[in-house]
Amino acid sequence: MNESYAVAAVALVVVATALVGAFGLRVSRTTSDFYVASRTVGPRLNAAAISGEYLSAASFLGIAGLVLVQGPDMLWYPVGYTAGYLLLLLFVAAPLRRSGAYTLPDFAEARLGSPAVRKLASGFVVGIGWLYLMPQLQGAGLTLKVLTGAPGSLGSVIVAVVVVANVAAGGMRSITFVQAFQYWLKLTALLVPALFLVLAWRGDGAPARAFDEPAAFREHRTVRVQDTVEIRLAEPLTVTVHGSVDGRPHDGERVALPAGPHTVEAGARLGFPAGAEVPVAQGPGADGDAALSGSGGPTGQERPLYATYGLIIATFLGTMGLPHVVVRFYTSPHGVAARRTTVAVLGLIGAFYLLPPVYGALARMYAPELVLTGNTDAAVLLLPDRMIGGVGGDLLGALIAGGAFAAFLSTASGLTVALAGVIAQDALPSRGIRHFRVGAVTAMAVPLAASVLAGRLPIADAVGLAFAVSASSFCPLLILGIWWRRLTPPGAAAGMLVGGGSALAAVSVTLIGHHPTAGVPDALLAWPALWSVPLAFLTMVVVSLATPGRIPPGTGAVLARFHLPEEIGGAAVRKEDAA
């Protein structure tokens, strides 16, 4: 693969991002521009910006990699990412905009009038944001490493610097343009190569092995294992081995491996015959680069149903609590626009998510050995070279690389804007533009340090866990806060602490410890949403009912403002402000 095209494409995306950001800078003057683009972003621009920001590394690279490793069950991820917006629309979009708050902590304070709940919400926003930023930075590192062999942290640093510069310089106004631009860039970067890849697949006789379980090699292929892995064979298999397997060195002879676990030393080359099933890697190699094979159980094995339902709950309910998603709604001019924006977003991201499954299916046919070598997240990047090759393959690969960088940049930008707003308001003394900039640097510095120091973290896993924490803290706060009069500050605080806290604890155990082996308790830790979301709702309701005296005095007026159309509610707001 020719690296220079890809490097040029990545450089072009970075420069274009900076330029579009600079264009936004010229129109970004006031503090209101900085925080909410002066609330004048129309549905179409805003929808493209929301979609551009939402389609992250996990969507662009992670889903195809997951599908490659674990099969079609993983398609619940994109479905959940999309359906999350439907739930956001149903229960949250218009009232959230009408609440007139800017961040989730603002919402908590406007609804409950409690500084303590506000502080708690700020803590969760920053935690979720950092959890979500880390995999973006790591994805950037991985992409650059796969494409050019650059050290893993270089891509992370590039993304961090560009994002902080853009955000600190132009704030929300400039980021809105950047993200709208990057939605279309990302769509193009997946759509055009996908068309060529599908043509190449048709030219290949349209084999349909992708849908077989498990993935299998289509032709004789030699796989070089980078890190020592433990593989598990479902059936006996004869392979040619250069290197060490099960502690015995081989030099190119055919070895009959019985079914069961085998250890393949780093650097070994295995030659698989055509039609052989791709073995399942589960050693440290799988923990490191292959990242994604973590929480879902090995290939070919049925995922337990509760894991699927856990994933559905986390992604469906988690979207509404993501800090970068919520901030975007405040940039709509009014509640009706917020609703229409959400519908447009559903259409845009739904269209985008038709593409990653195509890459996942093709990767299962043309690059199944990535499961063994570890770089499953790189499947999307490697397919054009593998299937088309030559200059055409290089150019398409470069387009994908550019799109991948757009994904890291836009999601990281959105998260940084959201976090910078919260940090500037809740951790720093005033709301000036200077503090917004300090907040932006802080928002990026911590996850950058963590991703460089802590090494690899599974992209889609980390994102999935961020969704789980969001679903068990902010989802109940938003839904009960908007629709239930009897919510009290102690109830909200207890619900967020118990639900979000336990999800966060489960997440930490999963991330720090080894990947869970089979067994219900481990699966419950890996998919906390299944129990932590109901727990959060229950705690919030029970504690609120137990503290009826603490219902905030202005609740009726606040709810009226959330729900009344602007032409009626507007005067109520003015009245309250005057009082």
């Binding site: 398609l75 439907l86 629309l89 149903l90 499954p357 009226a560 009344l564 032409e567 009626i568 109520a572």
Partner: protein, 132 residues
């Protein structure tokens, strides 16, 4: 101070005289109008009646949202079981999750927005009609 649209627009009269309103509006109306509802005023002054109006709108919107949510749950919840049980579960899973589920999501969203906006329009009309 509540304003009264009837003062400026709806009042019939041979000569359009400019009236400076200084007191409570009921001075200019007959006793028959005394009990007329003023939802906008009631809402703004946060009376019990005003709360009832807001509550009714909230209840309508919530019912509408829950209907769509119920459809979504009925659509999605059986799918994992279906994929596990059906004879060609995996092929079905590729087709449904990869492609078929997105159009219904968008259609549900459009349906909900249409209904929610209609409820709000109806509410505004109700309030403004009775305000006159």
């Amino acid at each position: 101070m509540p304003h009264d649209p009837a003062q400026t627009s709806g009042r019939p009269g041979p000569v359009p005289t400019r009236v400076v309103v200084t007191g409570p509006p009921r001075r200019h109306r007959g006793p028959a109008h005394r009990t007329a509802y003023r939802p906008r005023t009631e809402i703004h002054e946060q009376t019990t009646l005003g709360h009832t109006y807001v509550r009714s709108l909230m209840r309508t919107q919530l019912r509408s949202a829950l209907t769509v949510f119920a459809v979504l749950v009925a659509l999605v919840l059986p799918l994992p079981l279906l994929f596990a049980a059906a004879p060609h579960g995996h092929a079905l899973e590729w087709a449904v999750l990869g492609f078929c589920l997105y159009p219904p999501l968008v259609l549900l969203a459009r349906w909900h927005v249409r209904r929610a906006e209609r409820h709000e329009r109806d509410f505004v009309r109700l309030v403004e009609d009775q305000d006159r």
